[in-house]
């Protein structure tokens, strides 16, 4: 057993307090009865009620979910293809440009991505709205998906695909029957990542949207600019709650799978 270290315990406690205290405070104050967000006036769910009755927020939430769903799905398809090309297609002309275009959006400031896409949409005369946000979000989140999927593909034993070919699969069948089922967890987490990126995005959506489509982050941003509001606290609490439940569930599932796998492998080693 490792020796207990006061230094480590302190740094972990303070570190996680720093990470979580602001969010905990936010959650607590969302149940504050007072309109004044810094004065505690008793427990109440009043702001949740007002939030639900706020048509504008509900509309924005609906737009955001639609955008996130379509853009993450498209991004997952394109990103997985791109990852496959990066890892497996070998050399082709323009490969350097291709990998550059995959990695650049990851480090590109959002203001530049947003600005450039807006100028494109204006240039080609595309009406700004849900479609343009979906296009914009797909473009940058496909790069994240392809990074997640390609890191899985790199560690993927290439001989599995060769074995499939050797046993008579066409390259497409080999992908469908062998590669895809094995990289599925990475593809799914790529999708989830793309979905949250789209849900969170303020800057690119602000640039690429038109008057017809307002997403939740845009709504929150314009509300928050004027100061702290209890309704936003309530909304934040709901979003934090969803993410927390989702992440904890996912990690429990993967932990259970890992434990089962370890147990099976031990049992297998004993039967030798």
């Amino acid at each position: 057993m490792r020796r207990f270290s006061w230094f480590n315990a302190t740094s972990l406690t303070l570190g996680f307090a720093f990470l979580y205290l602001p969010m905990v405070i936010l959650v607590i104050y969302s149940f504050n009865a007072s309109k004044l967000v810094t004065v505690w006036a008793g427990f109440s769910t009043r702001w949740y009620g007002e939030l639900i009755r706020n048509e504008e927020f509900l509309d924005a939430a609906w737009v955001t979910l639609k955008v996130a769903f379509f853009s993450s799905t498209l991004a997952t398809i394109l990103g997985t293809m791109a990852a496959y090309v990066l890892v497996r297609a070998g050399r082709f002309s323009g490969r350097t440009l291709f990998s550059g275009m995959i990695y650049a959006p990851l480090v590109m400031p959002e203001v530049i991505t947003g600005l450039s896409l807006l100028l494109l949409f204006i240039g080609i005369g595309l009406d700004r709205g849900v479609l343009t946000i979906v296009l914009a979000h797909t473009t940058f989140s496909m790069c994240y998906v392809s990074v997640v999927v390609s890191s899985r593909l790199t560690s993927f034993d290439r001989s599995l695909e060769e074995a499939a070919l050797d046993l008579g699969c066409s390259p497409f069948d080999a992908f469908r029957l062998v590669t895809l089922p094995i990289i599925a967890p990475a593809v799914i987490s790529g999708w989830l990542l793309a979905f949250t990126l789209s849900l969170d995005d303020l800057v690119i959506a602000s640039f690429t949207t038109g008057p017809s489509a307002t997403t939740l982050p845009i709504k929150i941003f314009s509300a928050v600019r004027l100061g702290v509001s209890p309704e936003i606290n309530a909304l934040s609490t709901i979003m934090i709650g969803i993410v927390t439940v989702g992440v904890i569930t996912a990690s429990l599932i993967s932990k259970r799978a890992a434990v089962a796998q370890a147990r099976d492998e031990q049992a297998a080693a004993r039967t030798t």
Partner: protein, 296 residues
């Protein structure tokens, strides 16, 4: 045939929606100043053939870039962005390293949970995490209530809408980016190396300095770049936590675009920002490459 489609589809998408827009930005940055009123002169006349092409390029100029140097707002904003990014990267390292170290030295069965706790904020909305600090840092906010309650200060501190608040916001939101690579480097480290160093006469502190720090070097560098690069172009944090005197280039670009509606200048600002970012991005790539090669 299928291979061709496989390459062509994502390739075409990125060409159309990443590279083409960027070329448009470049072109507009070289165009004449005009307020939110396309078309921007000059326009490429395809009908005129090669002569048209020559004429087009002849009409492009660096007027907007010249403009950026005449108004000190821009270069001050670039410098201030760099300064804020450097300082907050350093602060993030100071806060992040002990956390990563504590995680890597914690009991094996605790590590996945701790790791999940670091990643969890990353999945929650960036905007909300920045917003959470507004209520804490404001003059009548919780931090001031706490400090006054303890008797440490008599008058509330002004933190919100200052650069201090921006530093806090950047450190807070980018902390996971610093912790994760450092943790990954430290976790791989063989603890018997420290025992060997102590066996050879190092004190605990010098063992840390001579063994742990050099071995986590790649993680530190990766973490610093991961904080520094996005911090330069940051928009949300300075606009929510910073004050009117907080100059950051992301904010300037936004305002140039949405408030002043001067698109050619906004484009020029974007091009210069990218030129500034190329250096750290290339350095970061090289560091990653080296780390990968070292691992084999």
């Amino acid at each position: 045939m299928r291979r061709w489609v496989l390459i062509a589809l994502p390739y075409a998408w990125l060409l159309a929606l990443f590279l083409a827009p960027f070329i448009i930005v470049l072109k507009i940055s070289l165009s004449d100043i005009a307020l939110a009123r396309p078309p921007y002169m000059p326009q490429l006349d395809f009908g005129a053939g090669l002569a048209g092409l020559r004429e087009f390029f002849a009409a492009l100029d660096f007027e907007n870039f010249w403009f950026l140097t005449t108004d000190d707002l821009y270069w001050k904003a670039y410098l201030s962005s760099l300064q804020i990014a450097v300082v907050s990267t350093f602060l993030t390292l100071l806060v992040g390293y002990p956390i990563a170290y504590g995680m890597a030295r914690s009991a094996q069965e605790w590590r996945p949970t701790l790791l999940m706790l670091v990643i969890l904020p990353f999945w929650t909305s960036f905007l909300i995490r920045v917003y959470a600090w507004m209520g804490i840092l404001s003059t009548e906010g919780l931090l001031n209530q706490f400090l006054i309650g303890l008797g440490l200060v008599s008058d509330p501190l002004t933190i919100l809408n200052t650069n201090t608040a921006v530093y806090i916001g950047i450190v807070y939101t980018y902390l996971p980016f610093m912790i994760l690579p450092i943790y990954a480097a430290l976790e791989k480290m063989d603890e018997s190396l420290l025992e060997a160093a102590e066996d050879l006469g190092c004190s605990k502190f010098s063992a840390f300095w001579l063994v742990t720090i050099p071995l986590s070097r790649n993680g530190i560098i990766a973490g610093c770049f991961l904080v520094f690069i996005p911090a330069i172009g940051e928009f949300v944090i300075p606009s929510l936590l910073g004050g009117s005197d907080t100059l950051m280039i992301g904010k300037v670009l936004w305002e140039e675009f949405f408030s002043n509606r001067d698109w050619p200048v906004a484009s020029a600002v974007a091009v210069v920002l990218l030129l500034i970012l190329i250096v750290p991005i290339v350095l970061f790539q090289r560091n990653e490459q080296k780390a990968r090669e070292a691992e084999g």
